[in-house]
């Protein structure tokens, strides 16, 4: 009897595949992040990624006082205009809760890097620091394939930039519409007046990041029902979730719950998992309420927070094309043009610069070209965000981002981005009103190394 056991030839010929993530694909993120492959999952799969980067901002301070505002500084610290950072250092474990029974999946991910999800100000010491924080902790029950149930802390179903895995995102930074309209900031519970613009590089008392809670990071604690099925060549998916509406925080701070709805249909061209090529159409909505002391009365009022979007993503190498349009109403973050975490000035929720009841909208177009027979890819994106849309204090954010990526191997890549920014308060003259700070916003560039393990 001839036995050939684990020969180098067999291994080489078989070309064993490991699950790797390359860059953003037309993937089904609901299923990839919430479930394990049936019959082919490990009980314990340790994985993670590190993103280390350098970013620099060429913006200039306000002429009158040399003050800087957050868009001119490198986050999340907002203490300098050029910095090295470990944006993300995540380690997690996922798998099936019991060997042989893969109907119960789990997913746990911890953040040990430095970003707005884990960098904030301590309420007790008033000093900023980054903490080790759980970003995902969930259990999925797959007993009904078309009505799976996921419970815990995880990404809510929504916009493509937020829902997809960040380690395969094609750019260093989100679009402004995603960053400002969707990536929720939670104002400090007690009303605080604006912080005057200042220069953290020269003034010791200048702290432009005074949040005492992390950003929502496109996540919530709640329960989601979801499913996916092939209809001919199309992969049809849906998700409905109810959550606290409190982002990464484990508690509910009010009696309201957010409702998230999502549908997508993808014509699959080929491939699977993160590598899948196809044409995906998707739509989503998010509705909730927030308590906020908008008039400095010492009592909370309730404000709506509604968001919705529709988009498409096409991937068939060597080309990629993505576009998404989003709108929002209520709790529009109006901070970044002012050096303040507050949503409003003067304690008037109905003032024209108040984001509490305001609208916002935006869209982006993204294209990518994977240069054949090379490890290079080129990326180009344009994004537009109209904040406090149709109001006196409407700000238009227009950004072009050019990118290039080199894939060192299937799990490691380096990305270079250059962004040109044009931000304008269209109802104010140059140097007047918000433009006093916005006029100095210039280009920004960065380089990021991502290693997935």
């Amino acid at each position: 009897m001839k036995i050939i056991k684990r020969t180098a030839l067999a291994m080489a010929c078989a070309g064993a595949m490991t699950v790797v993530a390359n860059t953003a694909q037309a993937a089904n993120w609901l299923m990839l992040q919430g479930t394990e492959p049936e019959g082919a999952a490990k009980p314990v799969n340790v994985w993670g990624f590190i993103q280390a980067d350098y970013q620099a901002d060429n913006s200039t301070p306000r002429v009158s006082n040399q003050g800087l505002v957050p868009p001119k500084l490198i986050g999340p610290n907002l203490t300098s205009q050029a910095a090295f950072n470990v944006s993300r250092a995540r380690i997690g474990v996922r798998g099936i809760a019991m060997p042989l029974d893969d109907k119960v999946n789990y997913f746990l991910l911890i953040e040990a890097g430095n970003n707005a999800a884990n960098y904030y100000s301590s309420t007790s010491t008033s000093t900023n620091s980054s903490v080790v924080k759980a970003t995902d902790a969930s259990i999925t029950l797959n007993h009904a394939p078309l009505a799976r149930v996921r419970v815990g802390l995880f990404k809510y179903p929504g916009a493509e930039e937020g829902l997809q895995a960040i380690q395969v995102f094609d750019y260093i930074n989100f679009t402004e519409v995603t960053n400002q309209l969707l990536l929720e900031r939670f104002p400090n519970r007690s009303y605080t007046s604006n912080i005057a613009d200042c220069n953290p590089t020269t003034t010791t008392s200048c702290n432009l990041n005074g949040f005492d809670r992390p950003v929502g990071a496109f996540r919530d604690v709640g329960v989601q029902v979801f499913g996916s099925t092939m209809v001919g060549e199309w992969d049809a998916s849906y998700a409905a979730m109810i959550g606290n509406g409190n982002g990464l925080n484990f508690s509910d701070v009010d009696a309201h719950h957010d409702l998230y709805l999502y549908v997508s249909a993808e014509k699959v061209f080929g491939g699977e998992g993160p590598f899948r090529e196809g044409l995906k159409l998707f739509a989503w909505s998010q509705s909730g309420k927030r308590n906020f002391d908008g008039d400095a009365s010492g009592a909370f009022e309730t404000y709506d927070r509604d968001r919705s979007g529709i988009g498409m993503k096409y991937l068939k190498k060597p080309w990629r094309f993505t576009t998404e349009h989003m709108t929002g109403k209520g709790m529009i973050w109006n901070g970044p043009d002012k050096p303040s975490w507050a949503l409003i000035t003067g304690g008037n929720p109905d003032s024209s610069d108040s984001g509490l009841k305001a609208k916002g909208k935006g869209w982006y177009v993204d294209g990518g070209y994977y240069i054949p027979n090379t490890s290079w890819q080129l990326d180009l994106r344009y994004d537009y965000y109209s904040r406090l849309d149709d109001s006196l204090y409407q700000l238009d954010w227009k950004t072009w981002t050019v990118g290039a990526q080199y894939h060192i191997n299937k799990k490691t890549r380096v990305a270079f981005n250059y962004a040109t920014r044009d931000i304008n308060a269209k109802n104010f003259a140059t140097g007047a009103g918000p433009n006093a700070n916005l006029d100095g916003i210039k280009d920004r560039y960065g380089i990021q190394l991502t290693a997935i393990f």
Binding site: A16, T18, V19, G39, P99
Partner: protein, 145 residues
Amino acid sequence: MSKRAMSVLATVLLVATFSLSNPLNAADREHKVVLQISDGSPEKQTLVLNVANNLQEFYGVDKVKIEIVAFGPGLQLLFKNNANKDRIGGLVGRGVQFSACQITIKGMTKALGYPPAINPQAVQVDRGVVRILDLSAQGYTLVQP
């Protein structure tokens, strides 16, 4: 013709006759391979399917008989909703037999509290290891990726 020359000529003629009467060389004869999978890891599942596919690509579907025997944790490859079921279906369509060990099924039934749903395209055999030994006795080459 000398005796020596006659002897050489006879040998040449004998070899030529044998070659002409036996046209199959190593590359043409049918190969028989049994692939064992006894490990439930996703990588091993992918590997064994890749090996089966590569063998058919190299020799041709009609020139290699392949049977994949799954037992122990490797039986997960033949769970009904295994993520690789489409690939398995493709290989079955090209003549590959997938054999599922019934002893393992009984053991998993005990562990789970219910019988695992097995891919209907799999053939259930009494004992996976015995099946491998039987195939080996029939001239199959055992490959353990």
